[in-house]
Amino acid sequence: MPRVGVLALQGDVREHTSMLERVGADVVAVREVEQLDDLDALVMPGGESTTIAYLLTTSGIRETLGKKIEDGLSVLGTCAGLILLADEILDGRSDQWSFGALPLAVRRNGYGRQISSFETIVEVKGVGEVPGVFIRAPKIETWSDDLEVLAFHDHGDGDHPVLVRKERIWGCSFHPELTKDDRIHRLFVDAV
């Protein structure tokens, strides 16, 4: 049984936890640096990326997690988690940092404010159609060729990736954890 941490500083930790348990992971809520030890993978949940970034710094997790990502820890980031994994953040705070683990530029609230939040069906490579819940979602604006795109969505301005992967690092614009469909979590945990 893979041991998967859920970064539990802020956000929809509970939904990820129950999804991961459903697909057979041993789940650890991570609030302290020591809890990063002996993890096979980590999920960074949805929430506010500025808040999570602030708490990553104050809790001292930022530095250690950065090293573990470099050393090959598997990570899935959804929404705010995707922003924290990106190489570049557009429309963020001027001092907003990220782990730079995914070769892409992501625009905060790129799909609009809450009033523009939406639900749609996303076609995921190798999985099929999954429900996609986009809440003040970040938009992947540019991406490098070595990024594996598992799903695109066209929101009236051409195809943009919404589920991506580069080796062990996964990013998702939407919230698979808010639905009853556990196939994306299964895909991630199986790959681990």
Binding site: A8, L9, Q10, G11, D12, V13, R14, E15, R31, G46, G47, E48, T50, T51, Y54, L55, T58, S59, C79, A80, D91, G92, R93, R108, N109, R113, Q114, I115, S117, F118, E119, V133, I135, R136, H175, L178
Partner: protein, 284 residues
């Protein structure tokens, strides 16, 4: 999807701010959202008069200043103020007892809106009535602008105790319990099965120290609203950061102790018995 944003705010602190400078401090300190309003509740309480929706210009200046969600308050029952706030693209509307009510019988039909609503509640019946009207998030009311957490604790404990009562009831009893609570039967039956509200439960009204935050989170609140408690304290910047950290690490007394150390004075606070106007009694 409308309630999804409330899920994203869980474990966070939503701070009242009256200008872009305060909004920046809130964002810098790790707030998950800000509530844009013209006066914090303690000033509304002091000044008296009719408290209304904020000036759109002020809300827009705050939206421009921060990247986190911006909420704003409409008066209870004032659906036209809510329409304006929706037109301004605010991320959440608080139909709030802190403002002077516009309708003494009816709350806003919140199903009519795309933007999600948060409403206050002092007990389970009130919470379920608001959810029936379309609220996506409930906050226990507490007593805003007092810096006194006693009412927040009373309301949280009441809601939780009433939910436990429903859980232990058999199906025959739920009809009479729904009647007693003045709450929609279907929601009463749902709470009886799940043991929790169908939407997230946050806490507001009187939280003014990191210890207060830890207390209400341990009592079951999933996130907190802090109004006057931050910008009426001696050192708002530090107080904001301390409350954010205490909210994340609410079960870790060492962290709460550390962030509580040397904070300066919290807001002065008011004894509830001395109040002329109890805001929590507004709303029905």
């Amino acid at each position: 999807m409308k309630r999804g944003l409330a899920d994203m705010l869980r474990g966070g602190v939503i701070m009242d701010v009256v200008n872009p400078e305060q909004a920046k401090i809130a964002e810098d300190s790790g707030a998950v959202a800000v509530m844009a309003l013209e006066r914090v509740p303690s000033d509304i309480r002091r000044d008296g008069g009719v408290a209304r929706m904020s000036d759109p210009e002020m809300i827009q200046s705050i939206q421009a200043a921060v990247t986190i969600p911006v909420m704003a308050k409409a008066r209870i029952g004032h659906f036209a103020e809510a329409q304006i706030l929706e037109a301004l693209d605010v991320d959440y509307i608080d139909e709030s007892e802190v403002l002077t009510p516009a309708d003494e019988e009816n709350h806003i039909d919140k199903w009519d809106f795309t933007v999600p609503f948060v409403c206050g509640a002092t007990n389970l019946g009130e919470a379920l009535r608001r959810i029936g009207e379309g609220a996506c998030l409930i906050r226990s009311k507490g007593e805003a602008g007092t810096g006194n957490v006693v009412e927040a604790v009373r309301h949280l404990r009441t809601i939780n105790a009433q939910m436990r009562r429903l859980q232990s009831a058999d199906s025959n009893e739920l009809f009479a319990l729904a009647k007693d609570l003045h709450a929609p039967l279907a929601l009463v039956q749902e709470v009886s099965l799940t043991g929790k509200l169908p939407v997230p439960l946050f806490c507001a009204g009187g939280i003014s120290t990191p210890a207060d935050a830890s207390l209400v989170l341990q009592l079951g609140a999933e996130a907190i609203f802090v109004g006057s408690g931050i910008f009426k304290s001696d050192d708002p910047d530090r107080m904001a950061k301390a409350i954010v950290e205490a909210t994340t690490h609410f079960r870790d007394a060492h962290v709460v102790a550390k962030v509580s150390t040397g904070l300066g004075a919290a807001m002065k606070g008011i004894e509830i018995a001395s109040l002329e106007q109890r805001l929590a009694e507004r709303g029905w």
